[in-house]
């Protein structure tokens, strides 16, 4: 696709330079991507262990492993760390950083120094939050008032940590939007862009415009606790539901900040391993923007039972159904891409197919929760827990693992053991379903979420879910070990092992420090796989 000029300079892989400062003061987007990758992976593993502890406690109805308070702290930390420290920055910051300049044919992002600053703001936020662990909050990651305004635990510190973190997200979003607008290589028109770029663009818009609202909301909560103001305190004339309105105005789009990059990853992996052009390119591209836009209009569907007005609930329910349409379009188009392809079930492809399978379940169960009458019954039960994890793990994390396996050779110039990767995929896939599928039934039965103890009638399904979490945990462990082990293997990765047409595969693995010796000139779109007929070209 690109008239890539043969290297004239000496090839210097970006990983070449060693030493502390070369990492901590780097403005290379690929290295910053690695820094993010390490940080978010650590938080993912920590929060994952917290989840295993919770599931262990939930194996029996009584609180016999940890006290109810400890359990509440566990789910608060699990939620906060997973959401704010892993999944929101997750794919967007790690793979976004690594891939965006490479995919659009640019030497770096538009603001390399700001990019580094964003990373360090993330770390500062993380440190503040770790300090908050001295008296860990027990509010749940949603920080609902008035409980968050009255509990004895340290809510101010953890919300301040998240507030700081928000700036990292905002600046990253801004950086990516400008990069995609201004730094594309000649010939890289909007309709030739890889779909991951479209997804990153939509994500960046959400990061830019939704995050400040949660920032100010958390600031108001901090003022509530420290200055005694009463925006959310009914005794002072405030309104606790207002907090939920503000909070979800961010946190609903945040769900899409988490999932849209994963959709972008899937749109990259499937055409490569099916050797087919992506089916319905424009529909997928614009549905990313459509999802981003509609996501601003649906926030109160988290609040149908919270005491919002019926008029508002009705409007928001209707808008919620609209968001299902672009999502459905994507799923259909991915599936159609496989038609008459030449499909290689590489581990990355398995994660992609797993994504479609699980995300379909996550999406369809979202329809249950969008329907007003049914949501009344299912809200705040394990059904929501299961739905959310099908979207977040079945969707985003599958996409994240898929991306790890797909771009691993490009990023590190090494290969991992493919058979072990497939085994890990199988364990993750099976373990995940055993963990979370029973929770749909628990929810329909009426088991409320965030219960440290629970009535005995739920015990068998809860225990099943716990056994599943062990398989899932084992799968993630094997995958992690396999990937880390691959880093120290001697097997060098070829430049383009899968025959991809995307620009990042046209440079050596790992990419050189300045990406391209000469800025490439793009002459075709990213998905020109297969044998063209004269008419189509």
């Amino acid at each position: 696709m690109a008239n890539h000029t043969v290297a004239t300079n000496v090839y210097v892989p970006f990983l070449e330079q060693k030493g502390f400062l070369s990492w901590f003061l780097t403005t290379d987007h690929k290295r910053i991507g690695i820094l993010y990758l390490i940080s978010i992976s650590l938080f993912f593993l920590i929060a994952g262990v917290l989840a295993l502890l919770m599931r262990f406690e939930l194996m029996t109805p009584m609180s016999d492993f940890v006290s109810p308070h400890t359990y509440n702290v566990l789910f608060t930390l699990h939620g906060s760390l997973m959401v704010f420290f892993f999944i929101v920055p997750g794919l967007a910051a790690s793979f976004g950083n690594f891939l965006i300049p490479l995919m659009i044919g640019a030497p770096d992002v538009a603001f390399p120094k700001l990019n580094l600053a964003s990373y360090w703001i993330y770390i500062v936020g993380a440190i503040i939050t770790l300090i908050a662990l001295l008296s860990p909050a027990d509010t749940g990651w949603t920080f609902y008032t008035p409980y968050s305004a009255t509990t004895d635990t340290d809510v101010v510190m953890i919300t301040f940590g998240v507030f700081v973190l928000g700036f990292s997200s905002i600046l990253t979003g801004m950086n990516f939007i400008v990069t995609i607008h201004k730094m594309r290589a000649p010939g890289m028109t909007w309709h030739r862009l890889p779909l991951f770029i479209w997804a990153s663009y939509a994500t960046a818009v959400l990061q830019l415009l939704a995050t400040p609202v949660v920032g100010i909301t958390l600031l108001m909560l901090i003022a509530e606790r420290s200055l005694g103001v009463g925006f959310f305190d009914p005794a002072k004339g405030g309104d606790p539901v207002l907090f939920q309105n503000f909070f979800w105005f961010y946190s609903h789009p945040a769900v899409y900040i988490m999932i849209i990059p994963a959709m972008g990853v899937i749109s990259e992996i499937i055409p490569v391993f099916a050797r087919k052009p992506i089916f319905g390119y424009k529909a997928i591209a614009y549905s990313s923007l459509g999802i981003a836009f509609i996501s601003f209009l649906v926030w109160a569907h988290h609040m149908f039972t919270s005491g919002i007005s019926e008029v508002a609930a009705t409007i928001f329910s209707f808008l919620t159904f609209l968001v299902a349409i672009p999502t459905a379009i994507k799923v259909f188009n991915w599936t159609a891409t496989l038609y008459k392809g030449s499909i290689e079930l590489h581990s990355a492809m398995l994660y992609a197919l797993g994504f479609i399978f699980l995300f379909t379940i996550g999406g369809l169960t979202g329809v249950f929760l969008g329907a007003l009458a049914v949501d009344i019954h299912l809200h705040d039960t394990y059904f929501v827990v299961a739905h959310m994890h099908y979207v977040m793990i079945g969707g985003t994390v599958m996409g994240f693992f898929g991306a790890l396996h797909f771009w691993y050779p490009k990023w590190f110039g090494k290969m991992f053991n493919e058979s072990v990767a497939k085994l890990a995929w199988f364990l993750v896939f099976v373990g995940f379903n055993i963990t979370f599928f029973p929770q749909f039934f628990l929810g329909i039965q009426g088991m409320p979420r965030r219960y440290a103890t629970y009535p005995e009638e739920f015990e068998s399904l809860m225990a099943l879910s716990t056994y599943g979490s062990w398989i899932l945990g084992l799968g993630v462990l094997i995958m992690t070990v396999n990937l880390i082990k691959g880093l120290f293997s001697d097997e060098k990765a070829p430049q383009n092992p899968y025959g991809s047409l995307s620009l990042e595969w046209q440079v050596p693995s790992p990419p050189p420090t300045l990406n391209f010796d000469k800025i490439p000139i793009v002459t075709d779109w990213t998905y020109g796989y297969g044998k063209k007929k004269e008419v189509d070209a």
Binding site: N72, G140, I325, F357, D380, Q445, G446, Y451, K531
Partner: protein, 312 residues
Amino acid sequence: MTWIPEAASNLAGKVDGVLLVITLISIFFFVLISAVLIYFAVKYRRRREDEETPYITGNETFEIIWTVIPSILLILLFVYGYVVYKDMRTPPKDAVDITVTGKQWLWTFDYYNGKKTLNELYVKQNVPVRMIMRADDVLHSFFIPQFRVKQDILPGRYTQLWFIPTKVGTFDIFCAEYCGTGHSAMLGKVIVLSPEAYDIWEKGIGMDDGAAVSSLPPAELGEKIYKQKGCNACHSLDGSVVIGPSFKGLFGRTGVLENGKSYTADENYLIASIYEPQEEIVEGFQPVMPSFKGILSENEVDAVIAFIKTLK
């Protein structure tokens, strides 16, 4: 265990109708997508490295079809969900009012007939009930799975819900909105009585005060009250500290109060602690316990104390 809990209110059947329709549609689409996905993955798996693939970039007819059909289905589902929701939110004029107050971590019910119960809601079969709800401290949520009703309750503001219980029996009331340490212990029961039984209850002969129960030995009655009235949300029997002091070995214990005075947990102290819990707080605990005046009769308090005495 069936996949869905028993339908015990007039609303349950309607909600289940929507749930069933959405479930069927979801299963249809899920099976369709999975089947196609697996079929393609098997049929078009790569056999040779140099396989040729066709250059297909899209198909407008298909894309329009799979945009329009789901859109129509989704709008129909929205309308169906909305119609039932409207029903669920519109109490009939002849509904009787019961006021619900949620507090960390118990429920109190005030009836139209002046009665008051704790953690146990008595309703008459086939008579519409409107719950007027308020919280004392933080958010809670009133949830009866068998009735398919749920509504958050908030401090400083009233919310409502209604239902007609259609089946005699006892069902769980859950708190569905996270409310702190005792959240999962904030359980209640809704007791649906036949009209005859309800009349007996209404005339002041509480079920627990009835001949069958009051003939229980005091310690056994106390244990029953301990579970029914929610003491177990905060007071453990095994010595572990949940919210309040454990009942284990409580009787006769001595210690220091928050105000610096010392106390001995004798009968007088325990009676005072149940009726005026805010007066004397044991050191290290929060003044969060509500008064049980008007909720527990003197006989019942005696029974609870008798029960505590058995816990050495």
